[in-house]
Each structure stands twice: as structure tokens, then as C-alpha cells.
């Protein structure tokens, strides 16, 4: 998809454009993770009682069995829902800004007057988003681990990294979905709207599938089915690389569609 140094030039420029917003994301997510870790020591002893009070269905829905370890606690509080949704939204917005919005603002007319192809623009946006997602998840892992160490919470660096980086394929999948939607002729606002809609739908389908065993088959259509609990169980390579591969394929399809459509003037 690259074949020339143009994609690296464009990726570097994109990262430079967004270094501020990236920093804000890292600081906010890092602060949130640190806060969640920080309250662990004070509630650690009561967590088991709390859990016993919850109905089984609720635990099932949130894929939480026990809260006996810091890993289970962090999954319930951070990694089960809030952070994956936030990062997927980050990825959707990153693509929407780079492709449909930039096209509507006529910025792409300028880039496409230089010897750059639309596929290279798509590759740039996808790769840039992947790098930013890696930066956010790794920074969050480091901050979480450092906070745990300082407060004497038992969480290894490996588990922290595994838990955080496990969100990378999932968020990247929604970058791919946004690229695919951008390949169809829709307005920029619709790209993020539709991708976010799919994100919520897939999450809901996953919850329903877990609650109703009869509907478990539905979960195979949701990317959340392949997400798991890496902070406790480690990363499942098949899911990790499988979802990453699907994200790339979906983005490729989007790139081919984008090549075939008109750009708004």
C-alpha cells in the first residue's frame, strides 16, 4: 500500500498535527487509571462482599466473576467497558478527521495534487491511528503499573501491558470500520455516527449473548467476543492477531472503495 516514503512523511505530519490531542488523551486516561488503582487498597477488603450482593446475571453481563485480584478489579472498572469504548471512539474520530472531514474541507484536494494516491492517504490515517492507539495503551499500562507499585497493589508490568494493549486490535477494528464507511459516499458526520452505532450494537450483542445462552451464537458477529480478559488470562494471540487482520482487511476494502468514489468539492 505504500511503496514510497510518502506514507511515512504523511504519518509523521499527522502525528505532529495531533501531538497535543494525543497528550491530552494520554493524561486523561492515565489519570483515570491511576485513580481507579488508587482506590483499590481502601476497598479491597469489602469487594468480595460487594460482589456477593450483585445478581449473577449482572456479573455475567459484565463478564465479571470475582473481584478477588487487582486484575479482576481493573477489568471490571476499566478494561471491561469504559476504556475499550473510549479507545474505539478515539479511533473512529481519528479516521473521520483525516478522511471525510479533510475531504469536505478541500484539504485532500491539496494533497492529491501532489503525487499521492488515495490509498496512501488511507494507509496514512490507519497507520497513524494504530501508532496513537499503541501510545495511549502503553502509556496507560505504564501509569497503571507505576501507581500500583507506589501503593503496593499487586499488579505486574506484564499483566498491566497485556490488559491495556489487548484493546489495540479492538479499537483498530473500529478504525477499519470507519475507513470502510468512508469508502461509501456518506457525509463526514455520518462516518463517525455509523461507526459509533456499530460499536454500541456490537457491545450490546455481546452482552445479550452472554446473558442468554440460546443467543450465544450472536456473539461471534461481535468483535467483543474476541476481547477476553487479558489482564488476568494474558493475551490470546489468535484473537489479538485475528482481529488485527480483520481490521486491516476491512480498511483495505475501504481503501478500494475510496479510490472509486468522487471526492466532495
Amino acid at each position: 500500500m505504500t511503496g514510497s516514503p510518502k506514507v511515512p512523511i504523511l504519518v509523521a505530519r499527522g502525528l505532529d498535527d495531533r501531538k497535543r490531542s494525543l497528550l491530552i488523551w494520554i493524561v486523561s486516561i492515565g489519570a483515570f487509571c491511576a485513580a481507579i488503582v488508587a482506590i483499590y487498597p481502601s476497598i479491597e477488603d469489602t469487594l468480595t462482599d460487594v460482589m456477593d450482593g450483585y445478581p449473577d446475571a449482572l456479573k455475567e453481563a459484565f463478564a465479571v466473576e470475582d473481584l478477588n485480584t487487582p486484575g479482576q478489579y481493573l477489568h471490571a472498572e476499566l478494561l471491561g467497558l469504559i476504556l475499550p469504548l473510549a479507545l474505539a471512539w478515539f479511533a473512529i474520530r481519528a479516521i473521520a478527521r483525516d478522511l471525510p472531514s479533510a475531504a469536505e474541507n478541500s484539504f485532500l484536494d491539496v494533497l492529491l495534487s501532489a503525487p499521492v494516491s488515495r490509498r496512501q492517504l488511507v494507509a496514512t490515517s490507519f497507520v497513524g491511528t494504530a501508532i496513537e492507539l499503541a501510545a495511549i495503551t502503553l502509556a496507560a499500562a505504564a501509569i497503571t503499573r507505576v501507581t500500583a507499585m507506589v501503593l503496593g497493589v499487586d499488579l505486574s508490568l506484564g499483566d498491566s501491558v497485556a490488559g491495556m494493549i489487548n484493546m489495540w486490535p479492538l479499537a483498530l477494528f473500529f478504525a477499519g470500520v470507519s475507513i470502510l464507511i468512508n469508502g461509501l459516499r456518506v457525509q463526514s458526520a455520518l462516518v463517525s455516527g455509523l461507526a459509533a452505532g456499530l460499536l454500541v450494537l456490537m457491545y450490546v450483542v455481546d452482552v445479550i449473548g452472554r446473558l442468554a445462552p440460546d443467543l450465544d451464537f450472536l456473539r461471534y458477529g461481535s468483535v467483543f467476543r474476541y476481547y477476553g480478559m487479558a489482564i488476568e488470562d494474558g493475551i490470546d494471540p489468535a484473537s489479538f492477531f485475528g482481529v488485527t487482520a480483520v481490521a486491516i482487511l476491512v480498511a483495505l476494502a475501504g481503501a478500494l472503495l475510496f479510490d472509486r468514489r468522487d471526492l466532495p468539492g
Partner: protein, 312 residues
């Protein structure tokens, strides 16, 4: 080989007409003006040539290359200024230029610098803080700085003040001398008349005329008007000259249109004391109006570029 060649090129936006059946050939090394009112299809044609829009039917080549299949090769060799040029408002002109230079593999920035000085362009301020005209200068720079074989400029003088328009015209004539082809769109006949070798007129999406501007001017009537010092002259001697039309005389003030060698007029005038003399060619606008709003008897039926009926 033509710099730009289109064959029955049409672009519809759904049911809306963009351009229709445009057959046009722009020669290497010429400055070609593409004229038409708002909504005529100028931008549509240009964006189709650049593969930003895909034609509904017909085909186009640019520098002998297929507009879609060879788009990257074409982009290497052209400079383009979009009609509504805009770029990230937080970025400066020099940041944009160095990005484009990187993508084009251009390291030589002397000409960019020289152009910036000539246009008095501010490369250090974010584009969002520049006035429309000053932003347009940045757009011109990014189209010109790598000295492309073909310049495609959509309303290049939009927003430029008269001084900068002059500078732009000077740059265009230098580009022509260098051997580059310039294809520009405009609403302003006057500007096209001064810069271009040929002009095409587009109306309602159709190419209605392609004219050589020098030829058009030379085969057209000139307007002669003068005031003589004497009051007791016989205007008849002017009226009777060959090629005179639309004659009017108001005492010593005489005006008429004239076609053919000017010498007899000058010789006759020299026998009088001339107070005021004005010799003008009609503007391109008047010519085109005469040609395309019914007054076709004044000249040869112009080639309409394609075989279609010329509208209007």
C-alpha cells in the same frame, strides 16, 4: 501530443449536470483560458481531469496520460490550484510548502522563496490568520514552486489585488516562455484576453466556443473616436472611408467602427488638428457577446470544439 485532451467528457452529480460532452484539446506550451459564468462547470471539468471526480462518460488525457489510470504520474508533472484552496488553518505557508516538497521529492526551494517575495506572501503565519487574498498566494506558491510541465489553476486571481494580479500575469508569461502549459479558469474576460493564447467558453456544462484570442482581436472591428479642433469639418469624408460602420458625428466629435488597414484613417486625420484620439479594440466580452448572442454575421462561425450545437 496535447497537454490536455478530453473526448465527450461528461460528469453528472446524480441527476445534476456538471459538464456535458466536452471535447477539448489544449496544446503544449499554450496558455488556455477557460471562461464561464458561475455554475457553468469549470471546477467540475478541472476536478475530473485531476481524478478527484470520476467521469460519467467520455475520457480525458493529461500530458498524454490517462486521467484515471496514470493519475500519480500526472500529479508528478502538474501544479494545481483548487478553486476553493484551503489548508489546515493552524499550519503556516512554509509548513505546507515543505510538506508538498517532501511529497514531490523537491529539495530546491529557491524558486519558492523568490515567488514568495514577488507575491509578498507571508509564509510564517498560520493560514487561518491570513486574508483570503494572502491565502490564495500560498495556494499559488504550492502550485508553482516545483516548476511543473502543466499548471491547472482554478480561478487563480480570485481575491488578489490588482498589483498581485499583474504579478501573477507576469509569472504566467514566464511560465509560457519556459515551455509550460497553463490551463486556467476565470470569470474575467479581460484577464483571459491579456494572458491567454486561446480561450474556451463553457456555458451550462457545454463547451460553446474555442477561440484564438489574437485572431479574434484582429478580425474584429476597432472603435475609432476623436475630436478635431476645427468646427466646420465635413464628417462625410470619414464616413466614406472603406470599412467604416456605426458612424456618428456630433460637431467635431466623431466616432465609428472600422475594419481593415488603419492607414487611410491616419492619413485623413493628419490633415486635421486632432484634439483627442481614442483607438480601441472591443473587449473580449463584447466580441463574445456579439458572437454568441445572435450577432454571428460579424464573423466566421467559430469552431465549437466539439460537434455539438453551440447553445445560446
Amino acid at each position: 501530443m496535447a497537454a490536455i485532451e478530453t473526448k465527450r467528457l461528461s460528469k453528472f452529480y446524480g441527476a445534476h449536470r456538471g459538464i456535458e460532452q466536452i471535447t477539448l484539446s489544449v496544446e503544449r506550451g499554450e496558455v488556455f483560458g477557460f471562461l464561464g459564468p458561475n455554475g457553468a462547470g469549470k471546477t467540475t471539468l478541472i476536478r475530473t481531469l485531476l481524478d478527484l471526480l470520476h467521469p460519467t462518460s467520455g475520457s480525458a488525457t493529461v500530458l498524454g496520460l490517462d486521467s484515471h489510470r496514470d493519475r500519480i504520474e500526472i500529479r508528478k508533472r502538474i501544479g494545481n490550484l483548487a478553486g476553493d484552496f484551503s489548508w489546515q488553518p493552524k499550519r503556516t505557508g512554509s509548513e505546507l510548502l515543505s510538506l508538498i516538497a517532501g511529497l514531490r521529492g523537491v529539495t530546491e526551494m529557491d524558486y519558492a522563496q523568490a515567488l514568495a517575495e514577488r507575491f509578498n506572501a507571508d509564509l510564517t503565519r498560520p493560514l487561518g490568520q491570513l486574508s483570503r487574498g494572502n491565502r490564495q498566494k500560498i495556494g499559488l506558491l504550492q502550485a508553482l514552486f516545483h516548476r511543473p510541465d502543466l499548471l491547472i489553476l482554478d480561478e487563480p486571481t480570485g481575491g488578489l489585488d490588482p498589483l498581485m494580479q499583474e504579478e501573477f500575469m507576469a509569472v504566467v508569461s514566464e511560465e509560457r516562455e519556459r515551455g509550460a502549459t497553463v490551463f486556467l479558469s476565470s470569470h474575467e474576460l479581460d484577464e483571459v484576453q491579456r494572458m491567454c493564447d486561446r480561450a474556451g467558453i463553457i456555458r451550462d456544462g457545454r463547451l460553446v466556443a474555442v477561440e484564438d484570442i489574437g485572431e479574434l482581436m484582429s478580425k474584429s472591428d476597432r472603435k475609432v473616436s476623436f475630436t478635431l479642433a476645427e468646427t466646420d469639418i465635413d464628417p462625410g469624408e470619414f464616413r466614406d472611408l472603406d470599412g467604416v460602420g456605426n458612424f456618428s458625428a456630433d460637431g467635431p466629435e466623431i466616432s465609428f467602427t472600422h475594419r481593415g488597414p488603419i492607414d487611410p484613417v491616419v492619413k485623413l486625420l493628419s490633415r486635421h488638428t486632432v484634439v483627442e484620439l481614442d483607438l480601441t479594440h472591443p473587449s473580449l466580452e463584447e466580441l463574445f457577446l456579439a458572437y454568441y448572442t445572435g450577432g454571428r454575421s460579424t464573423g466566421d462561425r467559430p469552431d465549437s470544439g466539439d460537434g455539438d450545437e453551440a447553445a445560446g
